[in-house]
C-alpha cells in the first residue's frame, strides 16, 4: 500500500476517465520540456556561422535554457500552488512560443540568449512541474503507470523533433525554422487545456462544515497556522518545511549524487563510438537504438512498478534502477567493438528509462501529492547544479586522460554511490515509517475513543436541550389553543 503520506489528499483520485486525457496532456508537455532544448542543437552550426561566434558561445543557448528550466522550478511550484496546473501550462506554452518567434527575428546572439534561453527556459519550467503535479491529483492506484506513460513523452518527442528540425532547417533556414517551431510549441497550450482542474471537496465542504467539526483542509494549511513570521509568509507560497522531511532529504541527497553521472554518458555515446573508429551513421544509429529502448522502457517500468509486489517498496525499485545504471557504465569500456556498444546502448536505454519513469513517482510516494508541487520545485533547483556540471566535468575527464573509459568509470561510480545510498537510507526510512504508522494508529484509537465519549456526552446534552425546547413549544401552543 502507498505510504500514509499519500492518502492525505482528502478525496479519492479518479484513477481513470478524464485522467488518461490528462496523462496525454502531460505526455506532450513533458515531451517538449525535455526534448526541445536537445533538438535545438541541430541549428547551432548554422547560427554559429551566421553570427561568427565560437562553439562554446552557441552552446550557452542550450545551457541557459536547461539552467532556467531547472531553476524556474520553485517559481513554477509557487504558481501551481496558487492557481492550479492549467493556467501555468498555458502561460508556459505561450511564453516558449512567443520566445521562439521573437528569436527568429533576432540580430545578435544576445537576443537568442534572452529569448530562447531565459524566456524559453522559464516557459518550459512552467510546462514541466504542473504536468507532473496534476498526475498526482488524478491518479493514486495507477499512478506509477500514469507517470511512466507521461515521462515517455521525452524520448518520443526527441525522435520526432530531431528529424523535423533537420527538415525545417533544410527548407527554411534557422530563422524560418524558429518561427515554425514557435508555432509547434504552442501545442503545449493545447496540452494545458486538457488539464482540467479537479474539484477537491476541500473547496466545497468549507461551506457545509461549521466550526467545531474536523478540518478537512490540506495538511499545508494546518501547518501554516502553527508557524509565524516570515517563515509563514514563505510557506504560503512554497512548502519550505519539506527540508525537514526525512524522505525528501534522502531523495535529494541520493539524486544529487546520481545526477552527476546521469546525463554525461548520453552526451558522449556518439563521440565515444566515433573515437572507437565507428562511422558517423552507425554512431547516430546507436542513439536511435537507445531512444527506442528508452521509449518502451518508461511505460513498461510504470506498469511493473504498479504491481502489488513492487508498489509498496517502490523506493527499492528506484535504488535498483540507479545501481543498474551505474553497473552498465562500469561495464561499457569492457565491451569490445560495435556489437558491444549496441548491447550497451540497449541496456543503457533500459536503465535510463527505468530511472526517468520512477524519478518523480518516488518523490510523490515520499512526500504525498499535496506537497509534491513544492517538493519538485525545490528538488529541481537543487538538482540544477549536478545536471549542468555533470557533462562538462566528464568532458574534462576525457580531455585529461584522452580516454573515455575513466569518464565511464567515474559516472558509474557516482551512480552506484547514489543507488547504494538510496537503498540503505530507504531501508531505514521504511522501518521508521512503519513505526510511526503504528504509533499513529495507537494514538488514533485513543483519541478516537476519547472523542466518541465526548461526542456521546455532547449528544446527550443536545438531546436534553431539544427535549426542553420542544416541550416549551408544545406547552406554548397548547396554551395558545386554550
Amino acid at each position: 500500500m502507498p505510504s500514509p503520506a499519500t492518502t492525505n489528499l482528502g478525496y479519492t483520485p479518479p484513477d481513470g476517465g478524464w485522467g488518461w486525457a490528462v496523462v496525454f496532456g502531460s505526455f506532450i508537455s513533458i515531451g517538449f520540456s525535455y526534448a526541445f532544448p536537445k533538438s535545438l542543437t541541430i541549428f547551432f552550426k548554422e547560427i554559429q556561422e551566421y553570427f561568427s561566434i565560437s562553439y562554446s558561445e552557441i552552446a550557452w543557448v542550450s545551457s541557459i535554457m536547461l539552467a532556467t528550466m531547472y531553476a524556474g522550478g520553485p517559481v513554477s511550484s509557487i504558481l501551481v500552488n496558487r492557481y492550479g496546473s492549467r493556467p501555468v501550462v498555458i502561460v508556459g506554452g505561450l511564453m516558449v512560443g512567443v520566445a521562439m518567434v521573437t528569436a527568429s527575428f533576432g540580430t545578435t546572439i544576445l537576443h537568442l540568449y534572452l529569448c530562447v534561453g531565459v524566456i524559453g527556459g522559464f516557459g518550459l519550467a512552467f510546462n514541466l512541474q504542473p504536468s507532473l503535479t496534476i498526475i498526482g491529483k488524478y491518479f493514486l492506484v495507477k499512478r506509477p503507470l500514469a507517470n511512466g506513460l507521461a515521462m515517455a513523452g521525452s524520448p518520443v518527442f526527441l525522435s520526432i523533433l530531431a528529424p523535423l528540425n533537420q527538415f525545417l532547417f533544410d527548407h527554411f533556414g534557422w530563422r524560418g525554422s524558429f518561427l515554425i517551431l514557435g508555432g509547434v510549441v504552442f501545442n503545449c497550450c493545447v496540452a494545458g487545456s486538457l488539464m482540467r482542474p479537479i474539484k477537491t471537496p476541500a473547496s466545497k465542504t468549507t461551506d457545509k462544515n461549521d466550526a467545531g467539526k474536523l478540518d478537512v483542509t490540506p495538511q499545508t494549511a494546518g501547518q501554516n497556522k502553527q508557524k509565524s513570521g516570515c517563515a509563514a509568509n514563505v510557506n504560503q507560497f512554497i512548502d519550505v518545511s519539506l527540508f525537514k522531511h526525512r524522505g525528501f532529504l534522502i531523495y535529494l541527497v541520493g539524486n544529487v549524487l546520481m545526477f552527476f553521472g546521469f546525463f554525461a554518458p548520453v552526451v558522449f555515446l556518439a563521440p565515444y563510438a566515433k573515437h572507437q573508429g565507428i562511422d558517423e551513421y552507425s554512431a547516430a544509429f546507436l542513439l536511435s537504438i537507445f531512444a527506442l529502448v528508452d521509449m518502451f522502457a518508461r511505460p513498461g517500468t510504470g506498469l511493473v512498478a504498479n504491481t502489488r509486489w513492487i508498489r509498496p517498496k517502490i523506493q527499492y525499485f528506484f535504488s535498483f534502477a540507479v545501481t543498474y545504471n551505474g553497473l552498465c557504465h562500469m561495464m561499457c569500456p569492457l565491451l569490445p567493438g560495435y556489437s558491444g556498444l549496441v548491447v550497451y546502448a540497449v541496456f543503457f536505454g533500459l536503465a535510463f528509462g527505468m530511472v526517468c519513469a520512477l524519478l518523480f513517482e518516488t518523490l510523490m510516494d515520499l512526500v504525498g501529492a499535496q506537497r509534491f508541487s513544492s517538493a519538485v520545485g525545490l528538488a529541481t533547483i537543487i538538482e540544477c547544479g549536478p545536471v549542468l556540471l555533470g557533462p562538462p566535468i566528464s568532458g574534462l575527464l576525457v580531455d585529461i586522460f584522452m580516454d573515455y573509459k575513466y569518464m565511464y568509470f567515474a559516472c558509474g561510480m557516482m551512480m552506484l554511490a547514489g543507488g547504494i545510498f538510496l537503498f540503505i537510507m530507504n531501508y531505514f526510512n521504511y522501518r521508521w515509517l512503519e513505526k510511526e504508522q503504528k504509533h499513529r494508529e495507537v494514538e488514533g484509537l485513543e483519541i478516537g475513543s476519547a472523542k466518541e465519549l465526548a461526542a456521546n456526552e455532547e449528544d446527550k446534552d443536545n438531546k436534553e436541550e431539544i427535549k426542553l425546547i420542544k416541550e416549551e413549544e408544545v406547552g406554548n401552543s397548547t396554551c395558545k389553543e386554550l
Binding site: 533556414g173 524560418g176 497550450c189 455532547e458 438531546k463
Partner: protein, 277 residues
Amino acid sequence: MLSYTGMLALLLAMLPYVSSQNEPRINASDQEILQPKSGQELPITLQCNLTNSHSTHQETFWMKNGREIPNTRTEHKHTEFKLSKPRTDDSGEYMCVYAFKSAPNANASIEVKAAPEIIGHKRSENKKEGENATLYCKSVGYPHPMWMWRKKVGRGSYIDIDNSTGRFFIINKDNFTELSIISVDISTDPGEYVCNASNIIGSKESMTILRVRSHLAPLWPFLGVLAEIIILVVIIVVYEKRKRPDEVPDDDEPVAPIKTNSTNNHKDKNVRQRNTN
C-alpha cells in the same frame, strides 16, 4: 697543316662538348598519361638512371609537385618509382633528384598527366532572397584545369553566366573555383549551375542547384500550425463546457468515515425520533 687559329677554333668548338661531359646526365622515362576510368589500371613505373657524373654521388630521392616523397631515398644510380594502381590524384610533376657530395643537385622531371576529376562540390545551395550564395568546385588532375561556369536553361542547353547586374564573382585557383552571387534574386538566380574543368587530356563537369526562398516562405506553415492549435483548443473547451451541466456534482463523501458524520446522523435520527413521537 692546321694553323694556330684553326686549332683554337677547333678547341672552342669542342668546349661545350667537353664541359657537357662534366655535367651529370640523367636518363629519364617519358611522360605518362593516366586513364584511371578505363578500367585497366595498369601499373606505371617512372625510371631515372644517372649515366654520367663528375662528382661523388650520394643519394637519390623522388619529389612530386615540389615536395619530397617519403621513403624514396636510395644510394643507387638507377631509381624507380612505381604507381601500382594509379588514380587521378597520382598525377602531377615528378622529379628524380640526385644529390652529390660537393656539387649542386641534379634532377629530371617526368610529367604524369590525367584528365581532371571533380572531387568536391555542393549538391544544393538554399538561400533566402537577398543573401549571398557561394558555389564551389574542387578537382584533382594534372595539368591544372581551366574553369568555366555555366547555367542550365531549358533541356540540355547551357548559357554563360550573365553578369549584367554585376553580382557574380568568380575566383579561379589551380584546383579550385568559386562562384559568388551577391544578394540572390528570387526571379532570375535559381537554377542549375555547372562548373566545367578542362585540361589538354580531358574535361569534367558537375552541377549544383541553387534554390532561393522568399522572405515569407515560413509564414504559411506557421499560420497552418496556429490554426490547428486554435481549432484543438476550441474543441477541448467546448467539450468541457458541454459536459459540465450533465456532470453530476462531485461525490464529496470522503472515503474514510469522519467521526462528525456519525454525530450528525445521531442528531437527525434523534430529531426524527422526536418528531414521530
